[in-house]
Symmetry: D2
Subunit: 279 residues, 4 copies
């Protein structure tokens, strides 16, 4: 199979689909699946096109597409190369394990290049899967030093995404700025409810009947980045905060996996503080 | 059938279930279904017991139960009488219609005695069902006057519950205090997210992937009362705020109906700012 | 707004999207939303395109599209006219009521032209909504006579769809053949489980932990037509068959409404014994 | 904590709860949580009672309970000992991995004593977790010989349950009879739909809009045993049979884990071909 994946976002205008598909047809590319969306508020156009066919010269195809699109269009021909990710963890195993199992059986859609933990507790488990685990403690050092150590480890790898798989430290705007739209977090509530620390304790105290989990890109504001995926489950009066946390694990790992699948298959566009997800 | 429903809440202590069931057995009452819950934080005990048998004297049974329970216990022998409710509405039809249809076909578990609308738009619809509709405008008068008019209408009926079926005015603490734990509201978000006005607009702007609805008892603080039932549905980037509102109607009416069913079957205890729901 | 909705299904081939969008562009039609699907097993192509613009001559646009498509393509330019439906019912109110309420408040997307019941029990309710109700008993007559009477009533209306809203009689192949892909049924199980009579009784006896509902087009084989929409809810050991039926009502009406919405918005293609639903 | 878990099932009669709770009170046992259910069709009573307190002599407590219950009652005082399970697998990793991860982090509620695979493909993975893996091929031997080899491995362990974690061979009635109500299977459909082989292929060909998974006890009839837990997810026309299988993995592992949790916490009673699950 010689499939090509084309992602485009640009200012909306008349005839975009015709222009794009004509260029693809001229290159003998056949459209297998095409999704598009127009954000009418922002007047923006997004499309994800899977084609079959052989493209000798990606640069010239890209140039031709740009010539047929409004100024400042963003055209991305997704390379064939496998994607690489790093995982940041603290103490909880469930998201980490879920990702490592998928990676082991080649169903993740990415290679896990390394794991960084600010506790050592998951090191032994990670090593079962032959993934390098780096213990970077946050104790007895400044946040800047802590983050520099993390960045130093990450710099050894060509990474497409950094996944906070229940990493319980807040990263600084400076750190985040280095990886714009490349850091994915799982938050243990249905945002925007229960922002910040101890969401299950907050949920218990409020007496909610549903709890949730949210996977989102990380931006400067805590738990405020573009949401990729969310899920909820029913709870009742018999669960205390700790039991809610146990029940919540199941959706945390499910939501994070779903979000990773969508991101790694290049189905997610970020637009302002929102995402467009072509499922 | 001579079923009796017994609701008890009291301070927790050793032997409560034994004491209660012994008293019931002495009255030749057979337990059909029994649910109990101990709130270990608050040290409170709750039970809901369905019995079969004939009780000549409710007062003496109640007294005997109280004699076998800790001080300040709350014992409630649910009377056979049908429950009565009033509905407060504004412009939206979906919750009102769902309740009226159930009432018409005797599946609501209560009689709808009257409907009060601060707009007249639903009057014609309500009258199809032969329920008195009172138009009480909020315009050109103080909130106190507006609420006094409502209270005046309500005072003509023996009401068990007042249901805010998309009633878009905020009631004052004084009004609410007259109907403690008797007012049920449907809020069009998964509380505590998006408290207050325009939750769908808030949801759209935040770019959430789930929206929700919450049925709760009304207390002094807006959208802060004990939650009875909640439900969520998935949304995506293609829905604007208005389309989210349309999609949300389906769960608003479903959640309100579910909550009413639970309340009207005496399955819901209020404890502080939470509910215990014996489903 | 001068929106045009174009539905096309044809044999799959290279360049279809380009050809179609080029024709639309030549007519100054701008694509607002486009969905397409290729059934690779059947080698069939399906698309649903919403355009904005003014088309003077629908026939010539259709002809031009056909000229640019493989032989035997099916091109449908959806007319602006409101759709009309008829409802067939027996004794249960919940699906009927849900549809009538939506129709009353203009959120159904169709006019309900008439209701035919093989019992009279829902007549009074239907008449609240000023829809003609025809009582056509199935008793003391042959199935052919029964169906001829129904067909005779239906023939008085220009109908787009006939909705079996809990109509508990099995229609003959002859009757169904008159309304190919135009009859929509709600079956009270998650097909293909529990085909036929008394699905809740079957579900109770099997001890399932979920029950479901299925909306489908009606074909010759009982409960075997193309599925449009399905939904399930959790049940447990405390529900008997009758209580399952009560719980099931909620999803029956929700699934039927969802299916009707999708059909009435021309989002559903039938292909063999399956549907393609562009949500 | 000195908690005691008491499970009772017997013929229903008047005063059972009183009798049982009186005996527990006489032993200074305080009831923490009690669930009961009366199967009115079968006239059977089931209860699960968590008590706190110290019981010197389990046998005498049990005897006393039996003396206060109808003839042929089944009283079970759950021992404190950790439960042990064995896993049977074929080629698919997802259920196996989910269980092993939980066992590793002590959240499964049981020890995995051994894994038996009729293929060798999962051996390397299993050994990461230091659980003995036995390869017992089904090839070139009779079913009786195959099952005898499995039974021989199992006989080395004191096992509470045998979990078929995507074990794709059908076990004989003789084998199953040795482990009555002790074998738990995950079936990759919402039973009773799509019994037998290739349920996802069946689901694809039927064009369903939901797929499901079912965890059940194994009895003589294929896929016919008492259902413990079920779950469904939505699918659409874009998924072929293989993609449905991939999507189905997520609920297969979730349902099996949920069922195991319920069984291992002694929340599940088997009654005829059904289960009572006290959640």
């Amino acid at each position: 199979m010689n499939n090509l994946l084309v992602l485009i976002q640009c200012k909306d205008s008349v005839g975009l689909v015709t222009n794009i598909t004509r260029v693809l047809a001229q290159h003998q590319l056949n459209i297998i699946a095409m999704r598009e969306f127009v954000d009418e508020v922002e007047q923006k156009f997004f499309t994800r096109i899977e084609c079959s066919g052989i493209v000798e010269n990606h640069s010239s195809l890209k140039l031709e597409l740009l010539n047929n699109l409004p100024a400042a269009a963003d055209v991305y021909l997704v390379p064939k190369a496998e994607k690489n990710i790093a995982l940041l963890v603290t103490k909880e195993f469930h998201c980490l394990a879920d990702i490592l199992v998928r990676a082991t059986f080649k169903t993740l859609g990415a290679n896990v290049k390394c794991i960084i933990g600010n506790h050592e507790i998951l090191k032994e488990f990670a090593e079962k899967f032959d993934i390098p685990f780096f213990f970077v403690s946050h104790e007895d050092k400044s946040k800047a030093d802590f983050e520099n150590e993390i960045a130093s480890v990450l710099s050894n790898y060509q990474l497409d995404y950094i996944v906070l798989a229940k990493f319980m430290r807040i990263l600084s705007p400076d750190f985040i700025a280095q990886y714009s739209n490349k850091i994915i977090n799982i938050h243990h509530s249905f945002l925007p409810a229960f922002i910040g620390a101890n969401p299950y304790k907050q949920a218990f105290e409020r007496g909610v009947k549903i709890i949730g989990a949210t996977a989102h890109f990380v931006t400067n504001n805590l738990d405020e980045g573009p949401i990729i995926s969310q899920q909820t489950i029913h709870v009742n009066h018999t669960l205390d905060a700790k039991q809610m946390a146990v029940a919540g694990r199941e959706i945390e790992k499910a939501v994070l996996s779903k979000a990773l699948e969508q991101v790694l298959e290049d189905r997610v566009f970020v637009s302002g503080n929102k995402t467009i997800v072509f499922e």
